[in-house]
Point group: C2
Chain length 425, copies 2
């Protein structure tokens, strides 16, 4: 075994599959969002970011920045320990109360990332429940898939948002067996929404627990930013609501909320929680400021929806293959990994617009896309600039316009072109 | 299945085993380290923290706090995306270069926690290597154990720091089979040190890769804070050096360093890295400031060693059962989970000193302890106060003094009393 040669070959393999990822070196600029400094080949230039998950620009909100700076000045830069060993800082305790309140739940628990929150919570809950069967949507995020895997529990995958399929699996398992349904509210790569009420009805009928991932919805939907479950008045019908602090709230970390007992069980049994340094007080304080602002201000949500709708319209009017989505996410189909990468490179290099290509394994092969996330700060002028740049890029690279190809992708009158994703992750 | 009742019973079970953990609500005070505000029962009082993993107090260092505040003011509170999708911020790129330099390696990779860095790196490396055999020290940290488990690779556990046992396992596997030896430099709960050179010799002899966890050593050992491997001139003989940003460096996150190819492989294949929001620029900038300070300043390391040595001497002179350790960690044996918890409660409630009890599963049953971590800021006066409080507590609760019991713990002239841990975690 020659280890060095082995790892060289593993990297060559990724290059050969055209999946090698180069991370853009970015420096965001407070007060000029969504502008950032991009460094490459020894040069630095200002560009516009069109694929940020800081969906509402809260990461540069004065109240949020101020809360971080104040907490760092008063309490320092780190937590200094795990939650159990000297790291349980007061701002983190307050943040968990704020999150429980946001979702109308008894308790909340914060993790250092959304990935860890899904992985630790799903695996711990399903491992504790005797002979648990997990029912998992086929398009669930990688972090949920890892949680399912690590639980060691039996799993059944139901077709994406397919309630009839889910019911047949629940029926086969019977009322008595422990069952956990795991799904998302907003699926991030397509921007579609789960039939939450129908899933809650089934969970009640067949006595299953429900676990929803709202990472692409919290802060952005519902009158206080409680997500799609809040908007639809369904939060009380879902057992565990999981979310992130690192997208619309603009900071770092993930969390779950639920009954006191379920939260206490995860807190007490999950190694990924127990043996990890707590989130720093400065991060917790900034997050609480962000959540509180978004509980009381509708302006960011309204502006985001307005700009996302406007962007979809402008790009579709130009004949670009905008994939239909009822949310703030605007995917544009390319359908080929190399073209997708070339389009992204050209947008950045020629037009100074940064949109990361989304290729396999994040989305199924053949559905490679540019995923655009307009925020309240992406003005009509920026959208007009984006349209011109995309059209130039589509022409220069010969990427098909709407309805002009993609025979491998099914068509319907509902979405143009219709995307039928084939696999999860 | 009654889910609510089930989780109530799971919590009752932890209470019954006296393992239910209550997190102390703390607010650290910049400029007064190691003092903190402790909130309980509607009251707030100032106490002294004696169990912080902010080992050098860098979390309150003016340069580090300033770097966080400046970066937050300039770049905002979050990264805004994963490393691949708009989250790769410039301070994080600089931090990884700094870490590679710290350990004399080609490349570094930062994760949102030390737990995730071990879990993701070990599982990814061992899963990539064909038919890999993992050789793991029996006292490895929970995060390493999770990494080993998740790799799906075959594992052999070698007795703690037992080089002969390790050799017999390597010999049985043969030179050709891929092998990964995973171990720590400083074992956190006992404070002992691995025979790194002997392990490196064996790795060379039997053609194994080596992975060392230096989380309780980076910043604190070696002329630039590169850990025990730097102090002993062995960094170049270890393939992957893992560390944390959340202890001596005073912030948040974990990392690995190694050859460009190994780091690139983990970067490209580990789901726990790929699908996670990047560390915020403010955290990265603060960490780089901390590492740079500790690369050039020996004062913190010297003061920490001086105060740790002084504390051990003062407490041992008072007859307290100080467990021998060649490092900055000062464990004091209690040997009973309830007494350990009661001692901790009394120290906090009566004396205003916070030392978390360390019980099973963090340490083996029968070896429950108070784990004290003197920092440069724990003065001789604070150590004298600690001694008086411990003696009062030992007397009040009837905890055995040195050599006065603990028949289940073996004895030797090397350590008084000798602790022979029986299991990992």
């Amino acid at each position: 075994m020659n280890y060095q040669r082995f790892f060289e070959e593993a990297i060559d393999q990724i290059h050969a599959e055209r999946r090698y990822r180069v991370f853009a070196d970015l420096e965001r600029i407070v007060g000029k969002f969504p502008r950032a400094i991009w460094r490459a080949n020894g040069k630095a230039e200002e560009i516009t970011v069109w694929c940020s998950n800081d969906y509402l620009g809260m990461g540069q909100h004065p109240d949020v920045v101020d809360a971080m700076q104040k907490a760092a000045g008063n309490m320092g830069t780190g937590a200094g320990g795990t939650r159990n060993i000297s790291g349980n800082n007061h701002p983190l305790v307050e943040l968990e109360l704020e999150l429980a309140d946001l979702h109308g739940k008894e308790a909340g628990l914060v993790f250092t990332s959304g990935f860890v929150s899904n992985e630790a919570a799903i695996s711990t809950i399903a491992r504790l429940l005797p002979n648990c069967l997990i029912l998992s949507d086929e398009l669930n995020h990688a972090s949920m898939i890892e949680g399912v895997r690590r639980s060691g529990a039996e799993k059944k995958i139901f077709r994406h948002n397919d309630v009839a399929h889910l019911e047949s699996l629940l029926q086969a398992a019977g009322r008595e067996r422990a069952k956990l349904i795991v799904f998302e509210s907003v699926y991030s790569m397509d921007g579609d929404i789960a039939p939450i009420e129908a899933i809650a009805d089934l969970a009640e009928k067949y006595n299953a627990m429900t676990y929803i991932d709202e990472v692409h919805a919290v802060g952005m939907y519902g009158p206080r930013g409680g997500g799609i479950t809040e908007r639809e008045g369904l939060a009380h019908r879902i057992d565990i609501i999981e979310g992130t602090l690192a997208k619309a709230f603009g900071t770092l970390g993930g969390y779950i909320t639920g009954t006191r007992e379920v939260i206490d069980a995860v807190r007490s049994y999950a190694p990924g929680f127990i043996f990890t340094t707590a989130l720093p007080p400065a991060i917790a304080a900034a997050t609480t400021a962000s959540i509180r602002h978004l509980k009381n201000s509708q302006a960011e949500r309204d502006a985001q929806q307005r700009q996302a709708t406007h962007a979809k319209q402008v790009l579709a009017d130009a004949g670009l293959p905008v994939m239909e989505s009822p949310t703030h996410i605007v995917p544009i189909l390319v359908g080929d990994p190399e073209l997708c990468k070339m389009a992204s490179d050209r947008l950045l290099g020629v037009h100074g617009l940064y949109i990361q290509p989304i290729n396999y394994p994040t989305v199924p092969r053949g559905t490679e896309r540019l995923r655009i996330t307009p925020t309240p700060f992406h003005t009509d002028e920026l959208i007009a600039e984006l349209k011109l740049a995309l059209v130039e890029t589509w022409n220069a690279l010969g990427i098909p316009y709407r309805g002009a190809g993609h025979t491998e992708v099914a068509q319907s009158d509902r979405i143009i072109p219709l995307l039928v994703p084939k696999s999860g992750g």
